[in-house]
């Protein structure tokens, strides 16, 4: 009964004309900044935040949240079309999305991601509505050792999804982990590998690393070959975007599994972005009967991570709305927005501000519907972008990458970082080293170290804590299953079957 009352309150709020308007502005801006390379949801929300100082708090929150999940819809577009991921999530979508685009299936790929995003979000919103407080209390049970085990599983997944030379891939995981060490050590405040650059005290900006390794190196590789691969994709009929019945069947389970994984991981504050998509992708790769298609344009390879990503974005609101604990950097900024409107999220938010709580949640439905309606007609337009000759397109992309990474902290230093990683990424692809493991290692490394050291600190140096904590033990076992699935003969043979080295190198 309480739930129905809440839904009613929420709908009244979310369907008022001003809430609809701000929701629409939010999701439109979100889609737009998501598509633009370099400028992510975090930068967009940070920059839009001061504009909301004078809005009604609920409207402000609806709009800012709209930018957040709207950017997830848009984020896959640039990855699929141009191999330009701004986040770790998008980098995973690139794995199969970009090959699809190169086979001329860009409209299909973008359509599928829009549908997956909607399904993933919907499932997670249902969870938020029904079980937010319960899930939040469960998430509180996760200690440092448990997070360590979850992240270790992520790292194992990242290491096993590599294709081609295992040594090259694993060395790139190690490189990524090392790059993640750059910056201030959380435990002691020591600056590590900053080489006297004060700007590195917070480590490399993830957007700059991703944009450099993927976007800039892609551009370098494409300059001078403008008439070949890229051009021919531009001429595509609109009806190509609808999946066939066989393709629907292919994506339905991965989408549901991805949504489940995403909803779970998203609700854990402190796992960081990208892990949900990574785990969803790795799960599909393990479950697939034809894993060799992954990396070459498998639809499951974009469905599962996209559904997981959007589900995790929605369920990231669970700990914030029910406990006042933001799950990631973007939700933290949203919480800042609430605080500056005089509402401090805490355990009492649902009771004290039912109108805001339910209004926001119902606006998720409204917003996701708007996004679906908004994004499908846009597919044609985005694909048309590809018909612009590449030598006219890439200078613009470079400008947007530069200004996008600059916008994160208003610091030119990040443009130099993009430049450095662009050159590194190009050399890597020319020598057959994959870039995705670097990015995944880069994200997971600091989390892994932080939680390991905190677990050891809190357990007074007792390493058995990783196995005596039940949650941690479960994930440790899952990691073992993952590893053994690679080495068990039958599975290994199937995996070892000839798979060309094309993930990073489309030529």
């Amino acid at each position: 009964m309480e739930l129905l009352e809440g839904i009613q309150t929420g709908l009244l709020t979310a369907l008022s004309w001003h809430a609809l308007l701000y929701c629409f502005i939010g999701v439109s801006v979100g889609t737009f900044v998501g598509v633009l390379p370099g400028i992510g949801a975090l930068a967009a929300i940070s920059l839009a935040l001061p504009l909301t100082y004078y809005l009604d708090p609920t409207d402000a929150l609806i709009m800012l949240a709209g930018i957040f999940y709207g950017a997830q819809y848009g984020g896959s577009t640039a990855s699929i079309l141009l191999n330009l991921p701004g986040t770790a999530t998008a980098a995973i979508t690139c794995l199969d999305g970009y090959p699809l685009a190169q086979q001329g299936k860009a409209p299909l790929a973008i359509f599928v991601t829009a549908i997956n995003s909607f399904v993933g979000s919907s499932i997670a919103i249902l969870l938020v509505m029904g079980f937010a407080p319960v899930i939040a209390e469960f998430a509180l049970e996760f200690g440092a050792e448990d997070y360590f085990a979850v992240i270790l599983l992520g790292l194992v997944a990242a290491s096993t999804l590599t294709i081609g030379s295992p040594f090259k891939a694993l060395s790139m995981v190690a490189l990524g982990l090392l790059l993640g060490m750059v910056g201030t050590d959380v435990n002691t405040g020591q600056f590590r590998f900053t080489f006297g650059f004060f700007e590195l005290a917070d480590g490399f900006s993830i957007v700059a690393v991703a944009m450099g390794l993927f976007g800039v190196s892609e551009i370098i590789a494409n300059i001078g070959q403008s008439q070949s691969v890229i051009q021919k994709v531009g001429h595509i009929r609109f009806r190509d975007m609808l999946p066939t019945r066989a393709e629907w069947r292919q994506i339905i389970w991965p989408t549901l599994r991805g949504s489940g994984i995403g909803s779970f991981v998203g609700a854990l504050p402190g796992t960081g972005p990208g892990i949900a998509s990574l785990m969803a992708y790795a799960t599909e790769l393990r479950l697939s009967k034809t894993p060799e298609r992954f990396g070459n344009g498998a639809l499951e390879g974009i469905s599962a991570p996209e559904a997981a990503n959007n589900a995790s974005v929605q369920s990231a609101f669970i700990p914030m709305l029910s406990l006042g604990i933001p799950g990631d950097a973007i939700v933290a900024v949203l919480m800042g927005a609430m605080i500056l409107h005089g509402i401090t999220p805490g355990p009492n938010l649902i009771n004290q501000e039912p109108q805001m709580f339910w209004g926001l949640i119902m606006s998720f439905w409204v917003g996701n519907l708007m996004l679906l309606i908004l994004n499908i007609p846009l597919i044609g337009m985005w694909v048309k972008l590809l018909s612009i000759p590449y030598h006219l397109l890439y200078p613009g992309i470079l400008v947007f990458i530069c200004i996008g990474v600059y916008s994160a902290d208003n610091n030119v230093f990040d443009i130099f970082v993009v430049l450095g990683f662009g050159v590194l990424g190009y050399i890597m692809r020319r020598t057959g080293f994959p870039a995705t493991p670097v990015l995944l290692g880069f994200i997971l490394g600091p989390l892994l170290e932080e939680n390991f050291r905190r677990a050891m600190l809190l357990s007074k140096g007792d390493a058995t804590v990783f196995f005596t904590s039940p949650i941690s033990a479960v994930f440790m076992v899952l990691s073992l299953i993952f590893i053994s699935s690679v080495f068990v003969p039958g599975l290994r043979d199937r995996l070892a079957r000839k798979r060309p080295e094309v993930v990073e190198d489309p030529e």
């Binding site: 405040g189 020591q190 004060f198 700007e199 005290a201 800042g336 610091n411 932080e450």
Partner: protein, 327 residues
């Protein structure tokens, strides 16, 4: 022609920067002639950002020039502070500095590229806010005295979480250990939310936390406040004693925020800015903000602020040295 005008302007600004008294007097009459920028060394959305924007709005109205807030985040506020320290000392680029960026970092780091005492002319320390020593409501610790007894009997056991090394919360904990002759275990997190999560989950013993944030949990009965770190009780936490009253005499630690100009800014400009800030502090808008967020109004004069910063650097240097934290 245009170029020459520009050069002349640049030369004039240079003269201002070096503090020629003649041109400074001239400047005071006309300052500000263009928009003034307040650099917030954090991303938008935090309390420093909000304070800077509200303050800037009022200063801008009084001085007749818009005040622009620019967010330059990074490294606990030190990137933004460094940016302002190396800007022109003309009164057009100001910093919204905090305890971390303008005092603790100097105590903690040898490699800090600026000196908070000599590289800035403070305009005013605007507000201060004490912290609250909070424990999980289910915890056995019911008073500061309980903590002191436990920590004395079990050195290196009592854990307190902080949003990171060198934050005012960290320093409050170190000072607690120093004053009481006990040794607490410092558990640093990335941000206070993560620390709060472990406190709510019962994995750490305590936290020196922001009053506004923790008061939500105190009111909902999930956390208990044992004491406040200020010199008097706080209006958001009635009936909670100060730590000094509750058993640790002379203990006082709080975070503060203030407006800073690069060293060498003409004193007349500082005076104009200070006047505008003191008027702003009396406005209803800011008063209600302070009540809401639990800020205590300071509004120190430039001279008092300068002396205050020196004393803060000295205080935290002593704590950092005693705890062996120097980087």
């Amino acid at each position: 022609m245009h170029r020459r005008v520009l050069l002349a302007t640049a030369a004039a600004m240079l003269a201002l920067a070096t503090g020629f008294s003649g041109s400074a007097a001239l400047a005071a009459d006309t300052y500000p002639e263009k928009p003034v920028t307040i650099v917030v060394p954090f991303p938008p959305g935090g309390s420093t950002d909000l304070l800077a924007r509200k303050l800037g709005e009022s200063i801008g109205e009084q001085l007749g020039q818009p005040v622009v807030v620019e967010n330059r985040g990074g490294a606990g506020g030190t990137v933004g502070a460094n940016y302002v320290a190396s800007s022109d000392a003309d009164g057009y680029t100001l910093l919204m500095g905090v305890t971390g960026s303008n005092a603790i970092s100097a105590a903690l780091r040898d490699d800090l590229p600026y000196n908070p005492v000599t590289d800035f002319d403070p305009v005013s320390i605007v507000i201060s806010s004490p912290l609250a020593l909070v424990v999980n409501a289910d915890s056995d610790f019911k008073s500061v005295q309980d903590v002191l007894t436990y920590a004395t009997e079990n050195p290196d056991t009592f854990t307190h979480g902080t949003p990171g090394v060198g934050t005012s919360m960290h320093m409050a904990g170190e000072l607690f250990g120093l004053k009481s002759g006990t040794k607490l275990v410092h558990v640093p997190y990335k941000g206070s939310a993560a620390a709060l999560q472990d406190l709510l989950g019962g994995r750490i013993d305590a936290m020196f936390g922001d009053i506004l944030v923790t008061s939500e949990y105190i009111n909902s009965g999930r956390l208990t406040a044992l004491g406040v770190t200020g010199t008097q009780e706080h209006f958001l936490l009635e009936d909670v004693p100060t730590i000094a009253e509750a058993g640790l005499p002379d203990y006082a630690a709080f975070s503060w925020q203030g407006v800073f100009a690069p060293a060498g800014t003409p004193p007349e400009n500082l005076a104009k800015l200070y006047d505008a800030i003191s008027t702003a502090l009396g406005s209803d808008d800011l008063q209600s903000l302070f009540r809401e967020r639990g800020f205590l109004v300071e509004g120190m004069t430039p001279a008092d602020s300068k002396a205050f910063i020196a004393s803060e650097v000295e205080k935290w240097t002593a704590v950092v040295d005693a705890a062996g934290l120097k980087k």
